[in-house]
Subunit: 470 residues, 2 copies
Amino acid sequence: MKTTVATVSLLTLLAVACKPSEAPPEAAADVAIAQQLAAAALTEAAAQEAAELVRSLSLVAGPRLAGSAGDARAVAWAEAKLRELGFENVRAEPVTVPHWERGAESGEILTPYPQPLHLTALGGSVATPPGGLVAEVLRVASLDELLALPADAARGRIVFVDRVMERKRDGSGYGPVVAARGRGASEAAKRGAVGFVMRSAATGNHRFPHTGAMRYEEGVPKIPAAALAVPDADLLADAIALGKPVSMRLTLETRWLPDAMSANVIGEIRGRERPDEIVLLGAHLDSWDLGTGALDDGAGVAIVISAARQVAALPQRPRRTIRVVLFANEEFGLSGGREYARVHADELDRHVLATEADFGDGKVWRFESKVAPEALAKMDRLATLLAPLGITVGSDPAGGGADLGPLAVGRVPLVDLSQDGTTYFDYHHTADDTFDKIDPASLAQNVAAYAITAWFAAEDPEGFGRAPGE
Amino acid sequence: MKTTVATVSLLTLLAVACKPSEAPPEAAADVAIAQQLAAAALTEAAAQEAAELVRSLSLVAGPRLAGSAGDARAVAWAEAKLRELGFENVRAEPVTVPHWERGAESGEILTPYPQPLHLTALGGSVATPPGGLVAEVLRVASLDELLALPADAARGRIVFVDRVMERKRDGSGYGPVVAARGRGASEAAKRGAVGFVMRSAATGNHRFPHTGAMRYEEGVPKIPAAALAVPDADLLADAIALGKPVSMRLTLETRWLPDAMSANVIGEIRGRERPDEIVLLGAHLDSWDLGTGALDDGAGVAIVISAARQVAALPQRPRRTIRVVLFANEEFGLSGGREYARVHADELDRHVLATEADFGDGKVWRFESKVAPEALAKMDRLATLLAPLGITVGSDPAGGGADLGPLAVGRVPLVDLSQDGTTYFDYHHTADDTFDKIDPASLAQNVAAYAITAWFAAEDPEGFGRAPGE
C-alpha cells in the first residue's frame, strides 16, 4: 500500500486526538474489541505467559538449525504446545531441508603478532583443509572495493571485507553489509582468493561472530568463508594498519549431510462462518545453531501463538480461520515457506491476509500493508485501531516477511507490523541470542498488535481483495 | 584515612563553591599546576594518545596470562614503550610466575534437553578426564548453601553455585560472589562432588563466561572447576527447575607447566631534589587469557604511563621520583607485587606514596587515602585539587590495589582513586575485554587524576609519614 502523506497525517491526527470513546458510532464495535484485545495482551500475566513460550522453546529445543536434533525437538515442541493451548487442526506438514553442520572452528592472527580471532563459519561454507588454511590477509573496505579489484589481485590471499554496519530502527543498515555475506566468497575466489572473512553483519561491539547464509556461484571455486566478531575485525584491521604483512589461520570443520526432514507446524483458530478462509500468522521455528534462537525467532513464535490465543479468548470467534504457521528452515533457504506455498497452492486465493513476526521482540512502531486498492480504506481503519499502541503508518507497501515471499504467486494481501530493530543486530545469528534478552512488556505490545490485526482481518466482511502484482 | 563527615562537607563545598581563582593565596601555585595537568590530560589529542597505548598493548601482546608468549611480548612492549616515551631507568625486573594453560574446554547439558553450555575453566583448575566428566548437577543458591550441605550430599555430582552478582558503582557486588570462585571447588569436593561450576562472577547478561583464579584446599581432592556464562547459568537453572534430573558434561583440558619467567617493568621520571624518594604509580601488565586485557589492565597501564608523562611535561620536574611499575602476574597470584616488595624492601621507607590503577577505564569518582594522621590535612588539600574532576572524598582508608598489598610491610602511604565500576564486571576476565570497550574521554579523566596525585605527592616538601598499621 502506498499511503499518501495526507492519509498519514490524518491517521496521525486520529491517533493523537481521538480517544477510542470519541470514535464515530459505526466504529464503536471494532474499537471496543481492539481495546479488549490490547488490554488482555498487555497484562503482566499475559506478558509472562508469552515470554514463557520463548523460554520453553529456547530450553527444550535450544539451537535448532534445519535438520539438527534441536530442529526435530522444536517440531515436537510446537505440535505439543499448540495442542496444549487449544489450537485446532494441529499438524506438522513435512518439509525437506538441507542439513549442514558447523563443527569445530577457530581462527588466529599468526604474524606479526599472534592472537586468537573469534570467528564463525558462514552457513553453507565448505571446510578448510585439515589443520586450517594459512594465508596473508587482503583487506578491502567493502564488497564494492572487492568487485573493483582486477583479476588475480587476491591470488593466494584470504580476502577480508571490513564494512561497518549502521544501527537503524528499521534494520536498514543490514542490506548494505549482508550482500558481502552472500556473494563475497565467490567474488573473492574469482580474484584468486583461497579464503574469505568478513566483519560480521552486526551492530554493537560484543565479541560474538554473527553467522548467516552464504552461497557459492556455480563454476567458481568454493573457498571457506567466515564472519569475524566486531572486535576481531578491529584487531585484524589494526594489525593490517601497522603496515606489515598480516597472515592468519582459518580452520573450519563444516560438513554437508544428506537432506533431512523437518516440518511446518500449523495450528488454527477455526472461523465461525467461513472457516476455509485464512488469516495467516507466521513465524519460523528453526534458528541458527549458535544461540538458542530466543529473539530469532522464538519471539515471533510466541507473538503469533499468543496473538491467536487472545483472539480465541474473545466471546465470539471471528468469521474466518486464523492459522498460525511455524515455518521450517527460514534461515538456511526458506524451505518451509516454499513448501507451504506449494502444498497450499489451491487455497492461496482463500488466504485473506498474511503477516509474519521475525525481527526479535522490539515494539511494533510502524504499520504497512499491501492489499487491493479498493481495500486501502480498511487498512487505514486497521491502522487507527493500532495507533493507541504507538504504531504509525509507513509509506511503503508491506513486504510480508521472508517466509511469505512464496505467497506472492497467490497475490496474498500482506501486512507488516515493523518491530523496533535498534538492538536486534547486536544479537542476530550469534550465541548471545538467548532468553534473557527477551523483554516481556515489549513482547506483549507485539502480541496486542498481531491480535488486533488478526481479529480485524478475520472478521472483516469482504476481505482485502488481491495484492497488486510487482 | 578516616575523613570525618565535616571534612567531606567542607571539601564538597570547596569543590562546588571555589573557582580555582578564588582559592586562598598560599594555594594558588598548586591549583594552577593541577589545572595545567588536567587541561593537558583532557585534550582530545592526549586522550587519543592514552587510548592508543591500550590499543597497542592489546594488539601487540594480546592475551598475556603469566608465563605465556603474550606475557613475554607484553614485557618487551612495555620496556620499549617506556624508553620510547622518555622514561628513565627503564628495566625489567625478573619475576618467577606460575604457568597454567587453559587448552580446549566445553560443556553441555545432556539430559533432559541437550544443548551446549558456554563455560570456561577457573584459573588453576585441573583437567577433566579425557572425553569429559559426566554427572548429574546439584544446584545450590550460594556458597553458604553449599557450606550448609551435609557430608556426602554432593556425592558423584557436579555442584552448581548459582548466585547472581549485583551491579554497583564501587564493584562491591563482586566480593559476595567471588568467594565461591576461590573456595567452591574444594568445598564441593569435601561433600563428595566430582566437579564444580558456578554462575560467573559477572554483571550483565552477555554470553561470556568470566574466568578468574581459584585455589584448592590442601588434603581435599582436586576437582575440575568452571564458570558458566550468565545466560548458561540461566539455562541450567531453568532446566533444573523443570524438576527432572539434569546431567551435564564438562570437558577441560587445562594443564600446569613449569614455572616461567616474567618481569615487573619499571620506568621513572627522576626527581629534581630527592630522586631516591619514590611516588609509585602501579598497574599490571599481565591479563587473563580470554580477552586482550584492554580494560584489565591495559587501561591502568595507559593511565599510569600517561599520568607520569603529563608530570614530566611540566616546566619543572617535581622534587621526588615518579616510578611507574607495571607488575607481572597480578591475576594469577600477585607474583609481581610480592617480588617488588621483596626486591625493593630496602627502599620501601622511601616510598612516599603509592597508588594503582586496576579497575578499567571508568571515571574516578572517589578519593581515599591511608597516610600518617599528621598528613591528613595534606590529603584534604589533594582532594581539593581533584574535586574539579568530579571526584569526591570517601570515608574509608585506601586499600591501594592488589599489587600494593605487599608494600604494607613498609607501611607505604596509599591513595585510592576509585574508578566507576558500574559496567566493569560486564567484561571482567572475559573474551569481550577488548580495545573497542575503551572510552578515551574517560581514560583521560583518569590520567588527569593520577597526574595531579603523582605531582602533588612528588612535590610535597615533607611527605605523608607512614601509613597506620592494621
